[in-house]
Symmetry: C2
Subunit: 814 residues, 2 copies
């Protein structure tokens, strides 16, 4: 019997998208200003579109290639994944690209309207810029939920006829649990598609934005001595496009990927909850799949709550300062979080059985009440809220770490940089303790299902988070347009207030993004283990430990590649800007027109070229490990699965550390530099812009730029994509043709009915050892070893319990 | 029956120490020069002694405190460790301190003699400086092997009456294997003592040397404009003392600790080889403990081979250049490595049974030939040799990475620093792949015993490595003395040749040290697992995964603390030097005498004060995890042991990465700066010292200094000490009172004699599940679960196999 609840999340997503459309048309109806403003805004819009177009072209090739690879995987022996994973993959990629497209377009349309509004009213400017952010947030969240849930509905009917009953797949009868596993393996394609786009958007976008920024600054500010955002600088449009490419589209694709992956992982673990309960939930009102529907329901409700939250973000006074604007955003954010907590309470208690049986590895089965699952969701919401404060402490203006960096700037760039590095490094302490406690607590409450639901609850605020996040670069752009159009000073002052708040939200947004990536990866990691049918990842096996090492190294090398890419791309930009200054007559006098499009083109090409190597590293290594494993252990899929799992754990742990380190060090340097704008007290003297200490701080910021905008945020994609690739490979490494790994398998059970006598244990010179293993599908493999003083013989029997027992009986008689 | 072989390693160590004594008296007989030279050398000597004295005072308190804590541990319920661990601990600390003392003294005596010899002859200068290094190397290696083997001999008689037979301990009859385990648990105290001293020497020394260096440079070079090593600078003596404190004593204590820990871990795993073979080796000529004696034998023979190696280091021509000097060192090094390979072949095939039965987790028992163990030792020697080349590639003058950093210096300090960071980060790629392959290969050859013996073989060259290593700072000091004493230019030229080679060997020495720390930690990690009796560390348990995260974070925070400490200590120095410049009349004219001792005192106090927090972090966290674990899981020691294991793995993986990253980035910046001395080609122009690009490179070097001399090398101690603390705690977490962890225990076997019918498997409404577990001591625990439709009952039975079978029988009848 099918429950109506399966359709509800999709409907809520559509509601969110409708609201987005209304908001969008409202924003677009606002006055876009005139003359130079409009012209510059057009350039930015076109530059952004040019990047998207070039990106899509490259993506098309990638998607085709990846689709063929995915299709090939489904034909491998032992693979249960359905060919339709390819369709899911393509849709995942297209939906993510669509969300990015929509977000970029609205952001580049909103900027000039914000500038125009700022000519008269700060409240109106906030309303418009935040409105643009809301469109972005709802677009991403709506498309993510709609895509995932629609595919689930479709697959649920396709694989299971919309019912939780056993059925035939691939010529074999399968339990409902098994069918759902196959369904979710296939649905993982959607998530993989989304995350692949995120790789392009986040890494490519990160390279783009910093190449343009550094290139524009190096030639414009340093060599030609013209101010930032000066229209005479040919790279200035590329710089403004970069804000949108990196901070809007990149962040959007990142959170789109996290949203989908988190919900998917929670569904996979929900399926295992049902399995642990015996394969069926008695009295379930949701067609027997309550625990699987729950994460989707939370995601859907989260969209509606985010709409409510965005409505609360407003200020009244035209003389408001940063604190009021930040306060307005906080109200929206906190109300959303609180409402989601309330919603989680009702959804969890309504949709889950009052008590569930869950298997805890190493501890056996526990009875888990639905209230405990609710507590797990609270853990997730807590992490999402606290991580922002932690990030703000280490990167916020006026906070102790920033003041310390400012002081250290007085003794030169060297000490400034050491202080910044140390700040980023120390910031891993509270962050990692927070994550570690969250993993432990949510697991203690409700196992890995609890971990996944903690992540789901946190991600339910995505639309709101993204609205707050996208508002930053929009305001930044609005300020840039005001500057370039030479508007009156008070306009720039108003946009500066928004921009300043936007800088803080950008930093805290990065904290949210890494928290979401970390929890998502853990949920995916848990889902991976259940897909492969292994019972754990034992790092006391040297090949697994070796892969943990290799995994730990990848984020470090990835970051270095990304940093070097920025350097190379920025150099391309420097040469082009120098060329234009040299060759275009009258450019410095403002009579000759710079070729903005050429700079946009250079940034675009460099970004897409330079993201190849990190991309190959990300995608290639997990595949290489599996191939290497198959070469060395052709018959031991379980060990290969553990090796890949060790690799995933290494990437996740190291990736989170490097993300936090780089994001926070970069943010700290940035704000240490900014501190000089208002003046800082060093050794009893007020010090301002232009001082030696300020110059040292500028050097620190140069180092921090790729940290916080390229390599740091890329870590999110690296760890999620690694875990997703693992998840997609997992079914091939499933127990189908694996040699039983006796030592650390889960349910080694000999089932005896009550009439069977207990095994007699004797010391004898001839003995028979039976080691039996029951795999995830209920099949039994028994290895019977007959040992005499002089010889040892081994026989392996496979089949259902009854079959194996009969075979052993026969063997023993012989 | 006792084998004479048990005494051989100790005898070889004594031979090494005798040779050292001869070499030492030869060095001391050399002409120490006269006048100012002698005076300055005296200052350095006294400064070094002052540091040692202050360090010993602090150490005394630490050793007393730690001894009490260790004694307390032995009284904990379930702990099998003998109280004499305290004596072993104290001796380990004293021996390590003694080695450091000896090394520092000879180094500070050799420097001036090298300067004096350099007045006339380069070959003689090399002979003396390398002679000093040899004394240091043999002193460290000799004392390490002597201390460990002497305690082993003593304990072997104390615990086992010098025989491999069962005996009574703590009122219970124990097998020889169990007695040996208790012996080795106690012997671990020696290793812990040694490594604790290394914490003080390496971390404290690292802070000392950089505080003095930075302080001397900032005021002397930058503010007062006087050259390096100028005797008017009050901090210059402290700076020269620092070279000895950090590079000589610190490195010596580091390798002393590695040497002892590696051999100990290999002995622990040797004991498990014997266990896997049934508890006795038939036909063993070494009193039944061949596999345990082997690592000691390799260590002992390594000392003699190192003596041969050091004898080969000589040059003939007075006009030799760097290449010849480096060549002479290489000959000694390569011959040592080759001879140790040969020695390993004979020792391994002679001392081990032709084939051994070893348990591979997840794969069951394998037959391992002794040749495979030999191959494992070759893996270790290979790593030791290759890691130097890798390090040299990333940090060597004239190599591609350095040239790239030099080029990037032309666009400012920011790009120089990004390039240096990226170089350090990328260098983790080949390094980690090398380590990962080594772990995997040596494990594939001979299990974790193979991993430990690979480490042992690598460490057998310690004396030679340390001789090469200590020669660097001695030559550096010799040059400083020449400068301060205003000797003729050709003297400085000769010492500069030695110094330049010394810089390369310092970098490669750091590579060797981190490789040794990594392999040592892995061996300790394996030993830890066997001590606790767990069968693996399953990171798919959330508490274990959480601790993996926490462990990964520790090296990052530790590094930040160390870097900040350098900053603070350097500031103290800056204020003192400024004060002296201000208050001592005639100091700048050379008529007033600087108060060198005050600066030495400041560096000493700052170093010891600032190393407290990192030290507490290192020692406190493992203990905190165990306490937290006991609080949450009072009855599940196995899970706590896994959590601690996860933490250890996190520290090791992350620590190795951060060590490689920091060492190589620091080394690269240093040599990028040095490149400007001879002039470099940037954008087609020769660029020299004093250019803007050079200034940018100097900034990079400022950042790199604490990286390569403080935080980077400290990682070695962090990871080894963490694993050693784990090892000492391990017995408390042993299986003695642990709740059985059914899910992932090793040998779940139902032993049936041939007359027992196979279990009949039926679907029935009432079923009995029996899960039985055999632990490391051969005891069986069976959990019998009776499930009916309405209820579930669980009974647990423990005892020998026969007892459990009887109990189950009785229970079923009931």
């Amino acid at each position: 019997m099918e429950s109506i609840m399966i359709y509800v999340p999709a409907i809520l997503a559509v509601v969110g998208l409708l609201f987005m459309a209304i908001k969008r048309s409202w924003v677009l109806k606002q006055d876009p200003g005139d003359g130079k403003m409009k012209e510059i805004s057009e350039y930015i819009y076109e530059g952004a579109l040019a990047f998207l177009k070039a990106e899509y072209k490259l993506l098309t090739f990638f998607v085709i290639g990846a689709s063929i690879a995915l299709a090939a995987i489904t034909f491998l022996p032992g693979a249960t994944t359905h060919l339709s994973i390819v369709i899911a993959f393509i849709f995942g990629a297209v939906f993510s690209a669509l969300a990015g497209n929509m977000g970029m377009k609205i952001a580049t349309k909103t900027n000039v309207r914000t500038t125009q509004a700022a000519r008269t009213s700060l409240p109106q400017a906030l309303k418009i810029s935040f409105g643009g952010g809301t469109v972005m947030g709802l677009g991403v969240a709506g498309l993510a939920v709609l895509g995932l849930t629609a595919f689930f509905i479709f697959f649920f009917h396709f694989f299971m006829n919309g019912q939780w009953v056993e059925g035939i797949y691939d010529g074999e009868t399968r339990t409902a649990n098994e069918l759902m596993t196959i369904l979710l393996e296939t649905l993982a394609g959607f998530s993989l598609g989304a995350e692949s786009i995120a790789l392009f958007a986040r890494v490519g976008g990160g390279i783009y934005t910093k190449a343009a920024d550094v290139g524009a600054d190096l030639v414009g500010k340093v060599e030609a001595g013209i101010p930032e955002d000066d229209p005479r600088n040919p790279a200035t449009i590329a710089d403004n496009v970069g804000d949108n490419v990196g901070d809007v589209a990149g962040m959007g694709a990142d959170l789109f990927g996290s949203y989908v992956a988190t919900v998917l992982a929670a569904m996979v673990l929900g399926n295992y909850v049902i399995k642990d309960m015996g394969g069926i939930i008695t009295g379930d009102k949701f067609g027997g799949i309550g625990p699987i529907l729950l994460p989707m329901a939370i995601a859907g409700v989260g969209i509606i709550i985010s709409i409510i939250g965005t409505m609360l973000v407003k200020i009244k006074s035209n003389d408001a300062k940063e604190a009021q604007v930040q306060g307005a955003l906080n109200v929206g954010n906190w109300v959303s979080i609180a409402l989601i907590a309330v919603a989680c309470f009702f959804l969890v208690t309504w949709m889950l059985p009052a008590t569930m049986k869950m298997k805890f590895y190493g501890e056996g089965y526990h009875e888990i009440s639905s209230m405990r699952v609710f507590y797990a969701t609270l853990v997730g919401l807590f992490v999402g809220a606290v991580i922002s404060s932690v990030t703000e402490y280490y990167t916020g203006l006026g906070k102790k770490p920033i003041l310390a960096i400012v002081q250290k700037s007085s003794t030169g760039a060297g000490t400034n940089i050491i202080a910044g590095l140390a700040t980023g490094m120390v910031s891993t302490f509270p962050t990692v303790l927070l994550f570690a406690s969250a993993i432990w607590a949510s697991y203690a409450f409700a196992g890995f299902y609890g971990v996944a639901l903690a992540a789901s609850a946190m991600m339910a605020t995505t639309a709101m988070q993204l609205a707050i996040d996208a508002f930053g670069p929009i305001s930044d752009n609005a300020g840039g347009i005001a500057e370039m159009s030479e508007l009156p000073k008070e306009v720039r002052q108003r946009t500066d207030i928004l921009d300043s708040v936007g800088n803080t939200t950008a930093a805290t947004g990065k904290g949210f993004a890494i928290a979401s990536a970390a929890l998502t990866s853990l949920a995916l990691f848990a889902a991976y283990v259940t897909f492969t049918g292994i019972d754990g990842i034992n790092i006391f096996k040297a090949p697994v430990l070796a892969m943990l090492f290799v995994g730990g190294m990848i984020p470090v090398v990835f970051s270095a590649l990304a940093m070097n890419s920025v350097g190379k791309a920025a150099m391309d930009m420097v040469y082009e800007v120098r060329r234009q200054f040299r060759e275009i007559p009258g450019i410095m006098e403002g009579t000759g027109k710079p070729e903005y499009a050429k700079c946009v083109d250079i940034s675009t090409k460099a970004a897409l070229r330079e993201m190849m190597l990190p991309g190959i590293l990300t995608i290639g290594f997990p595949i290489a490990i599996v191939l290497l494993g198959k070469l060395v252990y052709p018959e031991n899929n379980q060990l290969i699965a553990e090796m890949l799992g060790g690799y995933m754990a290494g990437v996740t742990v190291s990736g989170v550390l490097w993300a936090v380190f780089q994001n926070n060090a970069g943010g700290a340097w940035d704000n240490a530099k900014k501190s000089f704008e208002a003046g800082v007290m060093i050794n009893g003297e007020m010090t301002y812009k232009g001082s030696d200490a300020h110059k040292a701080a500028v050097t620190g910021d140069t180092v921090g730029d790729p940290f916080k905008d390229t390599s740091g945020p890329s870590m999110n994609i690296l760890i999620k994509l690694t875990c997703l690739i693992g998840l997609v490979i997992a079914p091939i490494l499933g127990s189908h043709d694996a040699k039983p790994v006796i030592d650390d398998l889960e349910g080694i059970e000999i089932v005896l009915d009550e009439t069977t006598p207990a095994p007699e244990v004797k010391q004898s010179t001839k003995e028979i050892r039976i080691e039996s293993v029951k795999d995830a599908d209920g099949k039994v493999k028994a290895t019977v070893t007959t040992v005499t003083d002089s010889a040892e013989a081994v026989e392996v029997f496979e089949g259902t319990e009854a079959e194996v027992a009969a075979k052993i009986e026969a063997y023993k008689k012989k």
